[in-house]
């Protein structure tokens, strides 16, 4: 039932463009591989472009690492591991990691600007969330370096050796910090590959690592795509693999490592249920929906992409949501007022658009916000689908875009059943003013992170990771240490 009393958001006072300046940043025309403390050319001399998804303009080109480059990197990591890194006192190791954190704080604006240019996320998010959190992760794990024995009563923690790490394009620098910081704190050395569409903040991180004075080879950065990643996974002298990305690739990796004795953690996809009860603080719940699926253009593994609204308030919540969607500003990621930035790549946009098509073909009703989008670049307006159920493909499969599927529910038990009715299990959301209901829901929803009366909250002290096909292992917090250690009795 649509309300005839309407608010007008699209005329009158508008916000003038407020672009973040790019004068203060430098991006090289070409980057090599960062191996053994310096940049070097890739063995086969091939490079690939990285573009700005908001303008489709090329920003730089980075090296394509082949198996021989990966081998060089692993050798450098092994040498550093056997040499200075494992011989150093743990407290001194921690101080190097503190330095990385401090320098990131000093260069925060530069990193935020480059992150938005390279990946398409709004500058406000990279400035206020990605970069500060990345620095905070380095701070948090730096402090653990000389305190590991307190985290494992009855065990003596020992480092593993060389960690091979592969990270995604949705939070490039932040994902790098989630991988590198605990690995180093636990005494390991690292070979890490950023996603092929977002390598630039990693190249800058290489500068930070060099300026922080870390011994050569402690962190090695190899750029490339699927084959480079496979070379890391397959390398016999890598002791541990850490991967964040799609469930499909996660399966490939688990099979590839089978029988090798390599330790691994996988942080994969999700299709989280965000559940709103009638007794929720509804205005804040609507904010939580928006934050849950439109934050970072929905390129979030733990996005609240399945909304469940208790039927008695469903119409009002959907109405509020539509109104709120009208106030979201899509546009230039470098504009400080932009809420929704560009879709990361042409191929991701194609994926999202195919799901929009599937949704319509399945008979769902689609609604998008009416904002304008720029001519060039990859864009998707915030989208909601109603008239769907658990049987729809758009409800079952991860879309990884600003697309929300909305269902109603009636009882708490039904909410729990439907929330769990998925092979995924990364996250979930519960909105109610009643405390006991929160604890019951959080107790019964089978997911690794449950947000009650909030969503998409991250902290270096708080463990993150999935149940079921959303992955194995936890990152962040005390629980994130174990993956990078051998625990001796």
């Amino acid at each position: 039932m649509e309300n005839q009393n309407k608010l007008a958001f699209n005329d009158g006072w508008q916000y003038a463009p407020a672009p973040e300046s790019t004068d203060h940043i430098t991006i090289d025309k070409q980057y090599g591989l960062f191996i053994d403390g310096k940049f070097s050319a890739p063995d086969e001399g091939r490079y690939f472009e990285t573009i700005n998804p908001a303008t489709e303009e090329p920003l730089s080109s980075v090296a394509l690492a082949t198996a021989s480059d990966v081998d060089r990197a692993v050798k450098a990591a092994r040498k550093a591991y056997k040499g200075p890194w494992s011989r150093m006192k743990a407290a001194e190791r921690g101080k190097y990691i503190f330095r990385i954190a401090r320098i990131l704080q000093e260069r925060a604006r530069e990193f935020a600007t480059i992150e938005s240019l390279d990946g398409g996320k709004p500058i406000r998010e990279s400035r206020d969330i990605d970069i500060p959190l990345a620095a905070a992760h380095f701070f948090y794990y730096a402090g653990w370096a000389d305190k590991l024995e307190y985290a494992f009563p009855g065990r003596t923690p020992k480092s593993l050796g060389v960690a091979g790490q592969i990270i995604p394009w949705n939070f490039p620098l932040l994902m790098a910090s989630w991988k590198i910081a605990p690995a180093l704190a636990c005494g390991n050395t690292v070979v890490i590959k950023p996603a092929e569409t977002t390598p630039l903040t990693m190249m800058k991180l290489a500068e930070v690592i060099r300026d922080a004075g870390l011994p050569d080879g402690v962190v090695n950065i190899v750029t490339g795509a699927g084959e480079t990643g496979a070379a890391i996974v397959d390398h016999p002298d890598v002791d541990k693999i850490a991967f964040t990305g799609s469930t499909e690739v996660g399966r490939i990796i688990q099979r590839a490592i089978a029988g090798t004795g390599k330790k691994y953690t996988l942080e994969l996809g999700g299709k989280a249920a965000n559940i709103i009860f009638a007794d929720a603080a509804l205005d804040q719940a609507v904010e939580g929906i928006v934050n849950g699926i439109f934050f970072n253009q929905g390129h979030v593994c733990c996005a609240g992409s399945r909304l469940f609204v208790q039927e008695s308030v469903a119409d009002e919540v959907v109405q509020r949501l539509k109104e709120r969607m009208e106030t979201l500003i899509i546009g230039d990621p470098l504009d400080k007022n932009t809420d929704i930035g560009a879709i990361n790549s042409a191929s991701q946009l194609e994926t999202i658009e195919s799901y929009l098509k599937i949704g319509k073909e399945e008979g769902a009703e689609m609604h998008q916000s009416s904002c304008s989008v720029p001519d060039r670049g990859y864009w998707c307006r915030p989208t909601i689908f109603t008239g769907v159920s658990q049987s729809n493909r758009i409800v079952q499969e991860e879309i990884f875009g600003p697309v929300l599927a909305i269902q109603t529910f009636r009882t708490l038990e039904e909410g729990i059943t439907k929330a769990n009715n998925t092979p995924f299990g990364l996250s979930g959301g519960v909105w109610t003013d009643k405390g006991s209901k929160i604890f019951k829901m959080t107790q019964q929803i089978r997911a690794g992170v449950i947000w009650a009366n909030t969503f998409n909250k991250f902290d270096p002290t708080s463990p993150f990771g999935g149940y079921k096909e959303s992955g194995v292992g936890r990152e962040g917090g005390l629980h994130g240490l174990g993956a990078y250690l051998r625990l001796e009795a």
Binding site: A91, F98, A136, G435, K440, T461
Partner: protein, 288 residues
Amino acid sequence: MTSTTARVPVAKTYKIYIDGKFPRTESGRYFALKDSSDSIIANVCLGSRKDFRNAVVAARKAFAGWSSASAYLRGQILYRIAEMLEGRHEQFVSELVTQGVGKRAAKKETEATIDRLIYYAGWSDKYQQIFSAVNPVSSAHFNFSVLEATGVVSIIAPDDSGLLGLVSNIAPAIVGGNTCVVLASEKLPLCAVSFAEVLHASDVPAGVVNILTGRREELTGQFASHMDVNAIIVTDNDVVKEVQISAADNIKRVIARADTKWESDGAQHPYLIQDTQEVKTTWHPIGS
């Protein structure tokens, strides 16, 4: 006509540190700190019980804000103290030497102090994780125990260790959210005052740390008996009994750390943080 005399240096006045300011002792008294050849190094404030009273008021006022600051922020501030101390390395080494500590020992002590601050900075957002618990009670309740700062802590700093011993007791207390009033070493008081200057330059809010100089014989009783102090740290075995008796009036927690060798690695650990923490357990039903 030009003079040929050398430049006359400006001598430092050593004050006390209360509520983010550097007043002189309200009593106007002093004691002379002398070196091994009996020359005066400095006139040091002879702190009074009124100074102590004022310091406790400041510490109490600062407690609400400091204890509710995020662990992250407290860790950042402790790290900043270490940065500031590193920058003033030379000053502290020379101050220790002036007070009779050997040059090499002074350098070691200063560096150990900086590293100790970094150590505790790193605990700020972790001690809660190792000392808290979710308790599996048998009723349908979510039950969790967390640590909370005990409140205002008075500290009688070690007399033998003018810098490292001082900071080794301040850091674990404040990283856990407590505020404190410290009586500096009587033998080696100067670094305490200079350390107050470092705190002042490090975004430490006013009143979180208050530092007095003075005579232990005069002030120990005050530190032990004040009804608005929640815990006292003593580093001298001879006074433990009298302190415990006096502290009993408000069941003040008495923490005796007399035999610690502050230079050793074993002198830093998270149980020193736990010493000035309370445990709070909360129950909440699980149901619909």
